[in-house]
C-alpha cells in the first residue's frame, strides 16, 4: 500500500517538466489530462460520425485521403459496407468509453472533487496517476485497431457474440476485435482505480465541517457514479477476458455448437451467446447512467449558481441520483427483450425500467420548479445547463416507449432507439460537459472564455442537435432499421430526404463545434485573467485562486460552516454566502422551511 495521505505525498510541489505535466500525481493535472484525452476522442468520434452520415446519403462520395487510412476499407476514398460498420463501431466505442465516461466523470471529477470537499488531493495520488495512464494505454490500443490487418472490428460497441467471438465472420473481426477487447479490459482497470480514489476520498478526506449533506451536487454525482462504476466495470472486465479466451484460446463460453461460417463447421461447442449479452448489459446499463449522472450533477451545480437561489430540495436531488444508481442495476434486460431470453423476464425488467422514470422526473421538476421566481443569469454555462434540461426531457420521453416490451417489438433495432440514446447521451451529457467547461475553465486555466463565442456555440449546437436527432425518432416510427450501411430496402427509399436533412444538420453542427475548440484553445493562452470567483459561486472551488495552487488551498485547509448553494438568503450580507464563510446566517435548511 502507498503513502496514503495526500499530506505525506505533497510536502513539496513537484519539480521538473515530467513530474509537473506528464507523470503528475496532482489530481488537477490528471483531471486536465482526462479532459484532453476526452477532447481528442470526441473529435475523432465526431469525425467518424461525419463519415458515416456522408456515406449513408452519398454512398459513392470519395472522401479524400481516406484510402490512406484503409485501402481495403475505402478504396479510392469510397467507404465499403464493412468499413462503414467498422467506423460505426469505433464511433460508439470512443464516444461511450473515452468521452462520456472520461470527461464529466474522470475529467471534471478528478479536478474538482478534492477541492470541493476541501482536501489537498485524492486519497491515493499515485493510483490516480496510474488510472489516467492505464486509460491512455487503453485508448492507444483501441486506436491501433485502425491500423492493423483488416482494420477495426465491425460488431458495434456492443460486440455481440458469436460475431465478436469468431475471427472469420467479417473484416476486422480478427486482430481488430482482439485489440478492441484488450483495450476495453485495460479501460476497465483504469476506471476501477479511478473509482477507488473517488470513493475513498469522498468518504475519508472531507475537511472540517464538510458533512456529506454539505457536499455540492456535482460531488454527490461523482461519488454515486464511482460507486456504480466500481461494480459495473468489475463485470465488464470478466466479460472481456472470457471473450478474449474464446477468440485466442479455443474456449467456448459464448460460441455454441454446430455453427457454419463460410461453409465450414466452426470448432467451438456448448457456449451461450446470451451469456455475453447478460454480462455486457449488466455493465452496459449502469454505464449509461455513469454517462449521464455526472452531467446531471454538474448541471444542477451550475443551475443553482445561475438561479441565484437554492434548489427547491437539495436532498431530493441526492436521493434521486442514488435511486437512479440503484435501479440502474435492475434493468439491464430491457436491452434484451427480443433476445430469446425467457419472455417472462422481459416483464420483470420492464417494471423497474418504467419506475426509473420517477426519480428522473423529480430531477426535472426540481430543476424547472426552482427556476420559478429565481433571478436567472444567462451566460454560456447556464445556457448549456438549461439546454440540458430540454435535451434530457426529449431523450427521456422516448424511453417510455422502449421500456415496454410490446412496443419494443416494433421499435427495437430501429432509429427510434438510436434517437433515444443519442438525445440523452450524445446531446444531454455533452451539454453537461460544455456547461462544465464554460463554468470551470476560468478555475482550471485561470482565464475566462469568450462569452460571445460561447453563446454562438450554444445556439448552433442547441438548434443543430435538435435538427439531427429529433428526425431519428420519426425514422424509427416508420421502422427504419439501424446499423445499416446503406438503405436498399423498398420502404426506406422515401426516407432519403430525411436522411439528407440529418446529414447536412450534422455537418453544420459539427462545424459549429470548431468555434468551441477555437475558444478553448485561444482562451487558454490569451483569455482575460480570471478572478477567484467569477460567477459568485458558493462552493469551495471558488474559495481559492484561479487556477488553484499545487496543494489547492495554499497549505491551510478551509473550514466549512454552511450548506452549499446559499444564494439569495434573506438577511445575509450579499446575494451569496460561501461555504467557508464564518458569517452567521439563517439558511433555508436550518430554518426547516424548505427540505
Amino acid at each position: 500500500m502507498h503513502d496514503v495521505s495526500a499530506h505525506a505525498a505533497h510536502h513539496t510541489p513537484p519539480q521538473g517538466f515530467l513530474r509537473k505535466y506528464v507523470f503528475s500525481v496532482d489530481h488537477k493535472v490528471i483531471g486536465k489530462q482526462y479532459y484532453g484525452l476526452g477532447l481528442l476522442a470526441v473529435m475523432i468520434g465526431m469525425a467518424l460520425s461525419w463519415l458515416m452520415r456522408i456515406h449513408l446519403v452519398w454512398p459513392n462520395f470519395a472522401i479524400p485521403g481516406l484510402q490512406w487510412l484503409s485501402s481495403a476499407g475505402a478504396p479510392g476514398g469510397v467507404i465499403t459496407p464493412e468499413y462503414y460498420l467498422q467506423l460505426m463501431t469505433m464511433h460508439g466505442t470512443l464516444m461511450v468509453f473515452f468521452v462520456l465516461t472520461n470527461v464529466p466523470f474522470a475529467g471534471f471529477g478528478n479536478f474538482f472533487l478534492p477541492i470541493q470537499i476541501g482536501a489537498e488531493d485524492m486519497a491515493f495520488p499515485r493510483f490516480n496517476m496510474m488510472s489516467f495512464w492505464v486509460t491512455f494505454v487503453g485508448f492507444c490500443v483501441l486506436v491501433a485497431a485502425f491500423f492493423v490487418g483488416d482494420g477495426p472490428p465491425l460488431s458495434g460497441w456492443t460486440a455481440y457474440a458469436p460475431l465478436s467471438a469468431l475471427p472469420g465472420t467479417g473484416p476486422g473481426q480478427a486482430m481488430g476485435q482482439t485489440l478492441w477487447a484488450i483495450s476495453i479490459a485495460v479501460f476497465c482497470i483504469g476506471q476501477l482505480l479511478g473509482s477507488l480514489n473517488f470513493i475513498t476520498t469522498t468518504l475519508d478526506l472531507r475537511t472540517k465541517g464538510m458533512t456529506l449533506m454539505r457536499m455540492p451536487l456535482c460531488t454527490w454525482a461523482w461519488f454515486i457514479t464511482s460507486c456504480i462504476g466500481l461494480l459495473a466495470f468489475a463485470v465488464l472486465l470478466p466479460a472481456c477476458i472470457l471473450l478474449i479466451l474464446d477468440r485466442v484460446a479455443g474456449t467456448s463460453f459464448f460460441v455454441p455448437s454446430n455453427l457454419v461460417v463460410s461453409d465450414q463447421l466452426v470448432n467451438h461447442s456448448g457456449g451461450s451467446p446470451l451469456l455475453w449479452q447478460h454480462l455486457f448489459w449488466f455493465f452496459g446499463h449502469p454505464e449509461v447512467y455513469i454517462a449521464i449522472l455526472p452531467a446531471a450533477g454538474i448541471v444542477s451545480h451550475i443551475l443553482v449558481n445561475s438561479y441565484r437561489r437554492p434548489l427547491l430540495s437539495h436532498k431530493a436531488i441526492i436521493y434521486c441520483m442514488m435511486g437512479i444508481g440503484f435501479l440502474s442495476y435492475m434493468v439491464w434486460g430491457h436491452h434484451m427483450f427480443l433476445s430469446g431470453m425467457n419472455p417472462f423476464s422481459a416483464l420483470v425488467f420492464s417494471f423497474p425500467t418504467l419506475v426509473i422514470t420517477i426519480p428522473a422526473t423529480i430531477l426535472v421538476l426540481i430543476w424547472i420548479g426552482s427556476l420559478y421566481g429565481s433571478n436567472l443569469q444567462i451566460n454560456s454555462a447556464s445556457l448549456f445547463a438549461l439546454g440540458f434540461i430540454s435535451m434530457f426531457v426529449s431523450g427521456g420521453v422516448s424511453g417510455f416507449f422502449l421500456a415496454q416490451p410490446a412496443i419494443d417489438v416494433y421499435l427495437h433495432g430501429t432509429y427510434f432507439v438510436v434517437g433515444h440514446f443519442h438525445m440523452v447521451m450524445g446531446v444531454a451529457a455533452i451539454f453537461g460537459m460544455f456547461a462544465g467547461t464554460y463554468f470551470w475553465a476560468p478555475k482550471m486555466f485561470g482565464r475566462m472564455m469568450n462569452e460571445t463565442l460561447g453563446k454562438i456555440h450554444f445556439w448552433g449546437t442547441f438548434v443543430g442537435t435538435y435538427c439531427i436527432f429529433m428526425p431519428f425518432h420519426y425514422l424509427g416510427l416508420v421502422g427504419n432499421v439501424r446499423r445499416y450501411s446503406a438503405f436498399v430496402d423498398d420502404y426506406l427509399a422515401p426516407l432519403m430526404p430525411v436522411h439528407r436533412f440529418i446529414t447536412i444538420a450534422a455537418l453544420a453542427t459539427g462545424a459549429v463545434q470548431l468555434i468551441f475548440v477555437y475558444n478553448l484553445a485561444y482562451s487558454r493562452f490569451k483569455g482575460k485573467p480570471a478572478p477567484e470567483n467569477p460567477w459568485q459561486g458558493t462552493s469551495l472551488e471558488w474559495a481559492t485562486s484561479s487556477p488553484p495552487p499545487w496543494d489547492n488551498f495554499g497549505g491551510k485547509l478551509p473550514v466549512v460552516y454552511h450548506d452549499p448553494y446559499q444564494y439569495g438568503i434573506e438577511g445575509s450580507s450579499g446575494d451569496y454566502v460561501m461555504q467557508n464563510s464564518p458569517e452567521q446566517i439563517q439558511t433555508a435548511r436550518e430554518d426547516k422551511k424548505l427540505i
Binding site: M1, V4, S5, H7, A8, A123, F124, L192, S195, L196, I199, T200, T201, L203, D204, L205, L230, L231, F233, A234, V235, L237, P238, A239, I241, L242, L245, A249, G250, T251, S252, F253, P256, S257, S269, G270, G271, S272, L274, L275, H278, L279, F282
Partner: protein, 205 residues
C-alpha cells in the same frame, strides 16, 4: 512474602537496533481496501454466474476428479492468515513499546513463506491437470477451473507484493498500523475468497 506487580518491561528498541516511530495515521487505506474488495467480489461473482450459465447451456461440462492438493493449499493459506493475525497482534505490542519489531517481522515472514507455498501448490495442481490432458480449452469445467484458480493466484501474488512492501516498512521502522491493517484485510479476504472458490469448484467440477 510480599510481591509487587511489576509493569512489563518497556523495551528501548533503539538498544536493539530497530528504532520505531509512530507515523501519522489515516483511515483511507482501509476504506480503499474495502472498496477494492467490493470490486474483486463483483468480478468473481460475474465469473460465477458465467460458470452457472455455461454449465447449463451445453451438455459438454465434462466433470473431472478434483485435485487433492487443493485441500493442502487451503490449509496453507488459512495458516498464513493465522500467522498474519499473530503478526498484527505483535505489531500492536510494538507500538505500545512492549515488544520487539523482530518478533512481528518473524510472523510476517511466516505469512510470506506460507503464501508462496500456496501459490506453488496451486501451480502443482495445474501441472497435475495438464498431466491428465486437461487444459484451458479442453472442456468448460477445466476452463473455469483454470480461470478461477489462476485469477485468485494472481490476486494472491498481488497480496504478497503488498506484504513485502509492509514487511520492508516494518523493517525500516516506519510502518503505520493503518497500512498493516489494510494489507491484512486484503490477505484475509484472499483466504475467504479461496474457501468460497474451493466450495464452488468441489460442487461443480
Amino acid at each position: 512474602m510480599a510481591t509487587t506487580l511489576q509493569p512489563p518491561p518497556t523495551i528501548n528498541s533503539a538498544a536493539r537496533g530497530l528504532r520505531y516511530v509512530k507515523p501519522h495515521e489515516s483511515s483511507a487505506p482501509s476504506t480503499g481496501i474495502w472498496v477494492g474488495l467490493a470490486a474483486i467480489t463483483m468480478t468473481f461473482a460475474a465469473f460465477t454466474s458465467a460458470m452457472v450459465v455455461r454449465q447449463g447451456s451445453g451438455n459438454d461440462w465434462r466433470h473431472f476428479s478434483f485435485p487433492v492438493i487443493l485441500y493442502f493449499n487451503t490449509a496453507t493459506l488459512v495458516a498464513s492468515s493465522v500467522t498474519l493475525q499473530i503478526g498484527r497482534g505483535r505489531f500492536a505490542a510494538v507500538l505500545e513499546g512492549i515488544d520487539y519489531a523482530a518478533s512481528a517481522l518473524r510472523a510476517l515472514y511466516g505469512t510470506l513463506v506460507l503464501g508462496c507455498v500456496f501459490v506453488l501448490g496451486q501451480y502443482a495442481a495445474w501441472l497435475q491437470l495438464r498431466s491428465e490432458g486437461l487444459y484451458l480449452a479442453s472442456a468448460p469445467s477445466s476452463s473455469f477451473f483454470y480461470i478461477f484458480t489462476v485469477l485468485h493466484a494472481l490476486h494472491v501474488i498481488g497480496g504478497l507484493l503488498g506484504l513485502i512492501y509492509v514487511t520492508s516498512k516494518l523493517h525500516r521502522g516506519i510502518l503505520r498500523a493503518s497500512t498493516l491493517s489494510a494489507a491484512s484485510q486484503y490477505w484475509h479476504f484472499m483466504a475467504l475468497l479461496w474457501i468460497y472458490l474451493l466450495l464452488l469448484l468441489v460442487v461443480r467440477i
